[in-house]
Amino acid sequence: MHRRTSLPVPTEHASRRGFLVRIIQATYAVIGATLAFVVGGAVVAPSFGRRETMWLHAGDVTALEEGLPLPFTLRVARPDGPSEVVDRKVIYLVKNGNEVRALDSTCTHLGCRTRFNPETKLIECPCHGGVYDVNGNVVSGPPPAPLRPLGTRVENGQVMVQV
């Protein structure tokens, strides 16, 4: 910063000036940080909010067929910001002997909704040709991982799924 020659006693002046500049900067930093904390906190917080999981009744064991992934629609109500929404989430239930497994129908590649093809007995993704077997394992195509398994338990013949 260029100082004017007309100002008195340059050296003492300069140190006092430097001190004031520090205080000014510090004050603005505190005001700015306070505002950033309040506004930034409110803006960023929902981005990192955790979704609560719940156990929902998906279907009855008697409705399942051995080794066939059948689609079931779950109604998942959740708050949506200031609003509320009831999502419809499609899952597959597969019975293998006494064990029932639930698979998320969302393709692990880019999130399209997969379909079970009864002729080929494979789960297919219509978007980029991903193919999974009845247990959700990748058979071919771009998906990087098997279909996501969901927590499952059977109570009194009812299949409960964790979403």
Binding site: L7, I24, T34, F37, V38, G41, A45, V76, G81, P82
Partner: protein
């Protein structure tokens, strides 16, 4: 870093600009009085930043506006603080702007050649009042709705163009979604753009003519703006900012119940800075109304606008000739505004006590939270509707009442093909349940430890008395308001009155004798509860 800045400077010469902005020479004797403008700048900055945060969540639609403000306050960490800062910032800003204007007035800083600086400042004051006015419609609570109704009706009183003006402000014949949309747009786009233009011109003009400095020029060398005067600005800004944070933390912004256009009993009151105008309306009834709404404010603003052109003689001292006259007018204006504001404050209806739930919401609480309530058939995890814990009130009263009376008709597709209709909630129960949900959604603290007597009184009230009698803002208005009936009558008298009003009054009464219609314990409970209302 240094090299990078050097490179940037070589391409943009930004250091010249910074030097030009900071190395202003101020007249000797420039005092703390000249920090008022910086305070206004700080507060405008705060409003911009907090407004940015609020806009990210606010939804300008009557169905969601209220819930989105609720969500900001309850659903976001420090969201209440964010809204508090914006809410209090508005009041601080009005005060700071007026203080700045008074400073400019008393030091005669508006005199030639600074007429346009004064006018741009006055325009900014009006824009800031425009912000305040458009801002408090946005939460869509009772205050928002009714205060805006009054504002628009005032505009409607404008001679000749009133009807058209009101329609433009409302976006149609009724206050509703279209109104909210245009006021929101004005509040977040139009007015900020105007304000930025005005700020830039105001500061550019201030720099062009230099600041006016003390009334009598002081001897001594000029002072550099940075850091010597900026230090004073900074101290004042820090004090004001700390006060703003304190106000927002200690007195969180209030949110009334959701706007209810059918509520004929809400008494609207504007924010304090419009209270003087509101109060003045009371003294100019009927055809004289434009005197209070147009002529007096118009003359006052006209006087302020003309001031630098009227006051052209030399001499800046406010108490010496020839400025004495203007100072007297300004004092009269100040006393008028302050006096009317004071009268308005004294005349305010008492705030609704958020802990006083009356009886209807208590009855509703029993209905909505009881074990066998039918809401939970659908409002349940995995059900067709969201659980009550996060259901929002996005529909009007009529919808809510009909929905509770017969949920299946209102929400098509919910009833299965061979299902019998569920037990239907009576209109009275629905009314009570709606009253309860509204209290909960307004964030009023839910009462605990409600005694069995009060519960019985509440259910009885919700089935019978509510038709004619009002308690704490809910209920009919055919009969007297019972909010403070305990002050007027002892328990025994209330008891006898409910049983047989005619025998007590000795004349025919509209109110039926409930001695045969209600059970003795119901009358006992009602009389006991009502006597306790003082």
């Amino acid at each position: 870093m240094r090299n990078l800045l050097d490179w940037l400077d070589s391409r943009t010469s930004y250091r010249n600009l910074v030097r030009h902005l900071l190395d202003e020479q101020l007249p000797s004797g420039t005092s703390w009085l000249f920090t008022t403008g910086s305070i206004v700048t700080l507060l405008i900055g705060c409003q911009f930043v907090t407004g940015l945060g609020l806009t990210m969540y606010y939804v300008p639609s009557p169905k969601l506006a209220f819930d989105s403000v609720r969500f900001i306050m309850d659903g976001l960490p420090l969201g209440w603080m964010l809204r508090g800062l914006h809410y209090w910032g508005a009041s601080f800003l009005v005060v700071a702007t007026v203080v700045h204007m008074l400073r400019v007035f008393f030091l005669g800083s508006y005199k030639a050649p600074r007429e346009l600086t004064w006018l741009s400042g006055l325009s900014m004051l009006l824009v800031i009042l425009g912000f305040s006015l458009s801002g408090y419609l946005l939460p869509w609570d009772q205050k928002a709705y009714w205060a805006t109704t009054v504002t628009i009706n005032i505009a409607q009183g404008t001679p000749l163009v009133g009807g058209a003006l009101a329609n433009i402000l409302r976006g149609g014949a009724d206050l509703g979604a279209l109104t909210l949309g245009r006021w929101f747009s004005a509040h977040v786009f139009l007015l900020p753009a105007l304000l930025v233009v005005l700020i830039v011109s105001h500061i550019a003009l201030m720099r062009k003519h230099g600041i006016s400095g003390p009334i009598e020029p002081a001897s001594g060398p000029a002072v550099l703006f940075f850091p010597w005067h900026v230090m004073k600005d900074t101290v004042m800004m820090a004090v004001v900012f700390a006060s703003l944070i304190t106000a927002a933390a200690l007195f969180p912004a209030h949110l009334d119940e959701i706007a209810n256009p059918t509520d004929a009993n809400y008494i609207p009151r504007p924010e304090w800075y419009f209270l003087s105008l509101f109060q003045m309306l009371k003294y100019f009834p009927g055809p004289l109304e434009p005197v209070a709404t147009m002529i007096i404010p118009g003359v006052a603003i006209g006087f302020l606008a003309m001031l630098p052109f009227l006051d052209r003689a030399d001499g800046r001292h406010p108490l010496r000739r020839p400025r004495r006259m203007f100072t007297a007018v300004m004092f009269a204006l100040g006393i008028g505004v302050a006096g009317l504001t004071g009268l308005g404050l004294a005349d305010r209806p008492p705030n609704k006590d958020r802990n006083d739930w009356g009886l209807l919401p208590i009855a509703g609480m029993q209905i909505a939270t009881s074990e066998d309530n039918t809401c939970a058939h659908c409002h349940v995890s995995g059900g067709p509707a969201a659980p009550l814990s996060f259901t929002r009130i996005t529909k009007d009263n009529e919808w809510l009442l009909s929905h509770m009376a017969d949920p299946m008709v209102i929400a098509p597709g919910v009833r299965g093909p061979h299902e019998d209709p569920p037990p239907v909630m009576s209109r009275f129960s629905a009314q009570a349940a709606v009253a309860y949900l509204k209290r909960v959604h307004a964030g009023d603290p839910v009462p605990t430890n409600v005694t069995a007597t009060v519960k019985l009184a509440a259910l009885t009230y919700a089935e019978t008395c509510v038709k004619c009698h009002r308690i704490s803002g809910e209920g009919g208005t055919l009969g007297p308001d019972l909010t403070a009936v305990g002050r007027r009558r002892p328990e025994a008298e209330i008891h006898a009155f409910i049983e047989d009003p005619e025998s007590l009054m000795g004349e025919p009464s509209v109110m039926p004798a409930f001695g045969k219609l209600l059970k003795p314990e119901q009358i006992d409970a009602l009389a006991k509860y009502l006597a306790s209302r003082k």
